[in-house]
């Protein structure tokens, strides 16, 4: 019986393409078709050549990255399975902070003159406030 449980569990993991979530392939982010629009517009956008989903939406150091993956993974699977999420999907404050850090990781030197103090505080102006379609177009 334990074997059946293990087998079924393993098959479900395989069928759900569980391993893909350990990759950095942007296609993994649209396994669940909610991100189809974001993916489609990213492939046509300027950052397509320079950065994939995880380059901007995840921290780059090991622990913070897997913490963010675990947290988002939990929210996404819960939301998609139970279909109880808000639409249009909106980025949460913690993820918005990660995103802002990512902008500065590459462009920090270029914009250091206009970035003063914290850029991740609640009321700070974020890069994507104006450059909203830099990564991908569709939000809704």
């Amino acid at each position: 019986m334990l074997g059946a449980a293990l087998g079924l569990g393993a098959y479900t993991f395989h069928y759900a393409e569980g391993l893909s979530y350990f990759s950095t392939d942007p296609r993994a982010c649209k396994n669940c078709h909610i991100m189809n629009d974001q993916y489609a517009s990213w492939t046509k956008g300027p950052h397509h050549a320079a950065a994939g989903c995880v380059d901007c939406h995840l921290p780059h150091d090991f622990f913070a990255k897997y913490l963010a993956k675990a947290e988002n993974g939990y929210h996404h699977s819960k939301g998609f399975t139970l279909q109880d999420f808000h639409e249009p999907i909106l980025i949460k404050p913690r993820n918005a902070a990660i995103l802002q850090e990512s902008c500065l990781r590459c462009h920090g030197e270029f914009v250091h003159d206009i970035v003063r103090g914290s850029t991740t505080a609640e009321d700070a102006v974020r890069c994507v406030h104006c450059h909203r379609s830099a990564g991908h177009g569709a939000r809704g």
Partner: protein, 485 residues
């Protein structure tokens, strides 16, 4: 042994529960994957003559479901759609004063949804108690196949012919044309004729072969052509600006020149506009000098009926002035607003994209964005719904307060002119006053009849109302001095 049995049973149950949960998850994942496969299946053929939307619903059931929801009652602060909704003229008595001597004074209610448009028109006292022309069906019925039939294939000839008939005769013609419906279970190319008139439906905005958006209404085709030929700036209509820079060898045609995003407003602009419906001339959109309130006024002032008389809608019963009636200039008001200038189409807010399973569709339950703030506003404005609703509320309440002021000024003006007449002032003496009354009423009505309570273009609505107040007060002063003379 004795201790081992309950443990084994417990482990077995836990294992069984685990398998149940995993299987449930597996089937859930299976369902989600299936959702992503087929957006739609074309089960039956539909043609240009399928004016009944029900057969289209067989193929595009998600969109059709939304369209059918337009019969539902909805209410926002300034508009409603209940069964035979409120009489606007009872709620706002100044409307009755403004429309004295015109059919709108006998019946004028809040709007209802698309699926009601024909039955509401058949029932209004304006049609039952006053003679109305067949051109009313230009927007209230799925009328294009009737135009083609009466015009021997020529859309515009049929349009002119039906417009000249009485409403009742024209309605009978539309019912006679009926709909070519696909035969259930028959081959794809077999259609059967079903009599009866239908309200606007799928075929009025969609090409039955490709489902592409297209404009079908002769009024709009002529109106936008005249607008393109004028030199009024229309920065929000990029295809018109581009056409103007070209050779202009062929007239502007929205169906070939318009961008996809423009078409998502043009199809609405076929009807949600200012127009003259008859009976003294064929229905037309007064866009030859531009879309602004004073540009439309200029077009009307320069227009002459066949008898040579200057354009007017009706003679005001209290004052004798020849005045104008605004219809519902949503397209024109939107054209002056920030959303139009930013490339936002009517459909973006009134038919926002939504997700059903993995299919992204445009919501065909056309309604106020305030009933659907998340879908309509948040894709561009990622703030709390309450915050967005509060901003709209501020704009609409300000417009409403200003409109009440303008209505008060208009009522005072009518009193003053009526008093001047009673004191013996002649029409010749009151000519300038009548002119001001015409301008004041036209501006007030332009905002009052427009369905957004100023939201489509807040600053423009305020500008128009300010001009109306000024015109009313100037007319009031002039009438007062005329009665003293």
């Amino acid at each position: 042994m004795k201790r081992g049995v309950p443990v084994l049973i417990g482990a077995g149950l836990a294992c069984a529960l685990f398998v149940v949960l995993i299987t449930a998850l597996l089937t859930n994942i299976f369902e989600r994957k299936q959702e992503a496969k087929n957006p739609y299946v074309r089960l039956v053929e539909v043609s240009e003559d399928t004016v009944d939307s029900a057969p289209w619903g067989t193929n595009w059931s998600r969109e059709y479901d939304g369209y059918r929801r337009t019969v539902d009652a909805t209410r926002t602060r300034f508009g409603g759609s209940e069964a035979l909704p409120d009489e606007k003229i009872e709620r706002d008595p100044w409307l009755k004063r403004m429309f004295a001597g015109y059919a709108f004074a006998i019946d004028y209610r809040d709007r209802r949804g698309h699926a009601y448009m024909l039955s509401d028109q058949e029932m209004t006292k304006r049609v039952l108690e006053r003679p109305q022309p067949g051109s009313c069906l230009h927007c209230h019925a799925s009328v294009i196949p009737t135009y083609r039939r009466l015009g021997g294939g020529d859309l515009f000839r049929g349009f002119e012919a039906l417009g000249k008939m009485s409403y009742q005769d024209a309605h009978a013609e539309v019912a006679k044309t009926g709909s070519a419906n696909p035969v259930a279970g028959g081959p794809a190319t077999r259609f059967e004729h079903a009599e009866g008139a239908h309200p606007l439906g799928c075929v009025d905005c969609h090409d039955p072969k490709s489902m592409e958006l297209r404009v079908t209404r002769p009024g709009f085709l002529r109106g936008i052509r005249a607008l393109a030929a004028s030199d009024a700036p229309v920065p929000h209509l990029e295809s018109v600006e581009r056409w103007r820079q070209g050779s202009r060898a062929t007239a502007y045609d929205p169906n070939t020149d318009g961008t996809r995003q423009e078409m998502r407003s043009f199809v609405c602009g076929q009807c949600h506009v200012e127009y003259y419906c008859g009976p003294k001339a064929t229905l037309f959109f007064p866009w030859g000098n531009g879309l602004k309130v004073e540009e439309i006024e200029k077009t009307y002032d320069a227009y002459r009926f066949e008898d040579g008389h200057r354009f007017f809608d009706w003679k005001h019963a209290d004052t004798g002035a020849e005045v104008l009636k605004a219809q519902h200039p949503e397209f024109e008001m939107w054209s002056q607003g920030i959303h139009a200038r930013s490339g936002v189409a009517c459909a973006d807010c009134h038919m926002p994209y939504k997700r059903e399973g993995a299919v992204k569709i445009s919501d065909h339950w056309v309604r106020s964005p305030m009933l659907n703030v998340a879908r309509a506003c948040q894709p561009c404005h990622p703030y709390a719904e309450t915050e967005i609703a509060a901003r709209v509320d501020v704009i609409q309440k300000r417009t409403h307060a200003l409109m009440e002021r303008a209505a008060g000024a208009m009522t005072d003006m009518l009193d003053a002119i009526a008093a001047a007449k009673a004191a013996g002032a002649s029409d010749a003496q009151l000519a300038d006053v009548h002119e001001l009354q015409r301008q004041a009423q036209w501006r007030l009505d332009f905002v009052a009849a427009e369905n957004s309570m100023g939201f489509h273009a807040p600053a423009e609505a305020a500008r128009i109302l300010a001009e109306s107040i000024d015109d009313s007060r100037r007319a009031q002063l002039a009438a007062a001095s005329a009665s003293r003379r």
